[in-house]
């Protein structure tokens, strides 16, 4: 540990924590007060640099901070009290962990002398969160506090990013010590590799240049690693097809002719077929998740060569055997790859690549995302399509919840820029949509933020309409209301003989009245011809939160679909 700069004044632990947050440039601290963090709230009151955002449930605090981090390049920050405050935050923490999002969570803890005594609102925060954080700390001595905070932010943002929790007992918040805030930390046990091995990169390039049926598959790592420009350059230089995972959408422009759509369980026919039939696969910042390749047994092919670029070595050869592993920051690796490609004379075989594109064109001809455009009932896909058409030229962010609506949003909204599509891909957390929208709107006050959700998901964190009111956050909620937990119903239809056990949402609230009761604008839309005017009106209301309750076709399913455990070429099409 190096201490390179600091101030020498005796400060309380609470003051130190706030100074650390200020030094880290934290704009918003999402949180909820409670007994064990009151000294910290007292310090929040006394300063103006860090703005506290009071949510209505700790889960939403983490989601909002997570979305703030996803839509910016910064670390999200959260403050919660001990015991139930921490346990409420766990879903948010696990969500951020699964998608590698940098968030620092500060939790209050009972005083050190009471730890282990089953004190009021005591929970072993470090123990409870251990499986779903990148790292966590219990600060037992105020002298360790500043350095621990520095480590927390450093760990959260570097290497493979992730959530880091700092648990601070109440007596540590009130104890005093000299304040030194180190400008940098070095930890002997933590040295993420940034630069990719140039020999491996050369080998990878060689394979790509010899490929007859090449494919480029990229994930959230490209978005988090800010490598979209480098990726675009490489894909254009090679002339190969590119697909994004759900997490990677926007990492490559969706309207670019070399984009073949999202892949995976609900990916396009052409993306999945190209993925399954390619001879050289370049995987970048993607981890061969089960929702992406299905069962690895079905994905395995002796003659397919796989190149995998990832900052986390444990993601490489975890689910599929990799021929050329490249550990490093995706941006650095892509820059090096572009450099080597430009420096060399070799280019891909134009005849082979043309034949491959012709084949992809045939697959594309299946028009796998088609749906009934003359329906008398609102088709959910049409709402997302209309949403895209009306908002594509705006400074636009789209958050989603989890379920059928999420997949339709991913399939029908064309994301051309990274960090514009904010959703829970890894953990698949229902309820994230609204708090995500709040976090994004705070980070980008002048941008337009829409939350595509469903009537089941939205109800899991609907109390945050109150937070939206308090901070006047004019997000636009697109509720695709089919009176079912749609994805659950779809699976029950396919795999459980149409037995819709508990997937029917009886006793739904009147969303228009509910929204109005929070002081927002509500709309109900139940005819296809009203979809566009409603969206137009909602997006023209710049200063209002508008809840659009679209009453959609109850029977609509998400296609294509690769049933769980099957191979990518075993898709169910419409």
């Amino acid at each position: 540990m190096e201490l390179t700069a600091g101030v020498t004044t005796e400060l309380s632990g609470a003051e130190i924590t706030m100074r650390c947050l200020q030094a880290e440039g934290v704009e918003f601290l999402f949180g909820y007060p409670g007994g064990a963090v009151l000294p910290l709230y007292d310090e929040i009151f006394k300063q103006e640099k860090v703005k506290h955002i009071l949510v209505r449930h700790e889960q939403a605090a983490v989601h909002a901070a997570d979305a703030y981090a996803r839509s910016t390049e910064k670390v999200g920050a959260v403050l919660v009290t001990s015991g139930p405050g921490v346990t409420n935050a766990v879903t948010g923490i696990a969500t951020a962990y699964m998608d590698s999002i940098p968030v620092v969570i500060i939790s209050g803890q009972v005083p050190t002398h009471a730890i282990g005594q089953d004190a009021f609102q005591e929970v072993d925060a470090v123990g409870v969160t251990r499986p779903c954080v990148k790292h966590n700390f219990l600060v037992k001595d105020v002298k360790d506090l500043a350095v621990t905070m520095k480590k927390a932010f450093y760990l959260a943002a570097t290497g493979r990013p992730g959530p880091v929790l700092v648990d601070i007992p109440k007596d540590v918040q009130t104890a005093k010590t000299n304040f030194f805030y180190p400008q940098s930390v070095s930890m002997r046990s933590y040295n993420p590799v940034v630069k990719g091995h140039s020999g491996q990169i050369r080998k990878a390039l060689q394979l790509l240049l010899e490929a007859k049926r090449p494919m480029i598959y990229t994930g959230g790592g490209v978005v988090l690693g800010n490598a979209a420009a480098e990726l675009l350059h490489l894909v254009h230089a090679l002339g190969f097809p590119c697909t994004n995972t759900l997490m990677g959408l926007g990492g490559y422009p969706a309207t670019d002719p070399q984009f073949v759509g999202m892949l995976g369980m609900h990916g396009t026919f052409e993306a999945n077929m190209a993925m399954q039939n390619c001879d050289v696969l370049l995987a970048i910042g993607a981890r061969f998740d089960d929702r992406v390749i299905g069962n690895p047994k079905h994905f395995f092919q002796e003659d397919r060569k796989i190149i995998h670029v990832d900052i986390d070595p444990s993601s490489i050869s975890k689910r599929v055997r990799v021929d050329v592993p490249i550990v490093g920051d995706v941006r650095e690796v892509l820059q090096e790859m572009n450099r080597q490609l430009a420096a060399g004379k070799e280019r891909p075989d134009p005849v082979a690549v043309k034949t491959w594109w012709d084949q992809i064109g045939v697959w594309k001809g299946r028009d796998c995302l088609k749906y009934d455009r003359n329906s008398k009932i609102i088709k959910p896909q049409s709402v997302v399509e209309k949403l895209y058409e009306l908002t594509k030229d705006m400074d636009m962010y789209v958050t989603s919840d989890v379920g059928q609506h999420q997949m339709w949003a991913a399939q029908f909204y064309k994301f051309n820029k990274p960090r514009r599509w904010i959703n829970s891909g890894g953990l698949g957390t229902m309820g994230v949509g609204l708090p995500y929208a709040l976090g994004v709107q705070l980070a980008h006050p002048d941008a337009t933020v829409a939350c595509v959700t469903g009537e089941a998901s939205i109800q899991m964190c609907i109390q945050e309409l109150s937070t939206a009111k308090q901070y006047r956050l004019p997000v636009k909620i697109v509720n695709l209301n089919n009176r079912y937990m749609g994805m659950v119903r779809q699976w029950q239809e396919f795999f459980h003989g149409n037995r819709y056990a508990e997937s029917y949402m009886d006793a739904l609230p009147d969303f228009v009245k509910l929204t109005e009761s929070y002081g927002h604008v509500g709309m109900r839309i139940d005819k296809p011809e009203d979809v566009e005017p409603a969206l137009r009106e909602a997006f023209s209301r710049k200063n209002d939160l508008v809840f659009m309750d679209f009453i959609t076709d109850q029977t609509e399913n998400v296609f294509p679909m690769v049933p769980g455990g099957k191979g990518l070429s075993e898709m169910i099409l419409v």
Partner: protein, 163 residues
């Protein structure tokens, strides 16, 4: 296949549970686990005996390396190494059995470290299979109690695990 993995980690509270939690969360097997501080008080050394295919062992090593507290990881089974386990066995020993028990301990290079009228406590070190062999060589019923440490391992010759 059986593997013996040695690792150095920060001597900090909770480090052990991070390792144990990693194994249980990912469904890896722990055959034995020993841990103690090293000559550098800021570091602990842990020896984990586990088993699995090459792919599983590769993942275990990578996942261990990913833990922030862990400084270094080596798979000792990748080369020549020395492995020892300590066992204390309390056996029934009275009358003429006492001589026999003493002889048996000597054959296995064990030492009797506690004596009463009716029992001996024997200390034995060696590989797990040697300790198993000793237990196997004893007559059923004479064993009153056993306690074993689990394996510790170190590389042979110049192979050193150090920061």
């Amino acid at each position: 296949m059986r593997h013996i993995i040695s690792l150095l980690m920060e001597n900090e509270p909770g480090a052990l549970s991070r390792v144990a939690g990693l194994f249980s969360a990912r469904g890896y097997n722990i055959e034995s686990l020993t841990v103690a501080p090293t000559e550098d008080p800021s570091l602990s050394r842990m020896t984990v005996v586990t088993s699995g295919s090459d792919d599983v062992i590769e993942q275990i090593t990578k996942q261990l390396n990913k833990l922030v507290d862990i400084v270094k990881v080596v798979d000792l089974s990748g080369g020549d190494h020395i492995e020892r386990e300590l066992m204390l066995v309390k056996v029934r020993a009275s009358g003429k059995d006492r001589e026999e028990m003493k002889r048996m301990a000597d054959i296995f290079r064990g030492r009797i470290v506690d004596v009463t009228d009716k029992a001996y406590t024997i200390e034995l070190t060696g590989t797990g299979s040697k300790l198993d062999a000793f237990l196997g060589a004893l007559e059923q019923g004479v064993i009153l109690e056993t306690v074993r440490t689990g394996a510790s391992g170190i590389g042979r010759g110049e192979r050193i695990l150090k920061v």
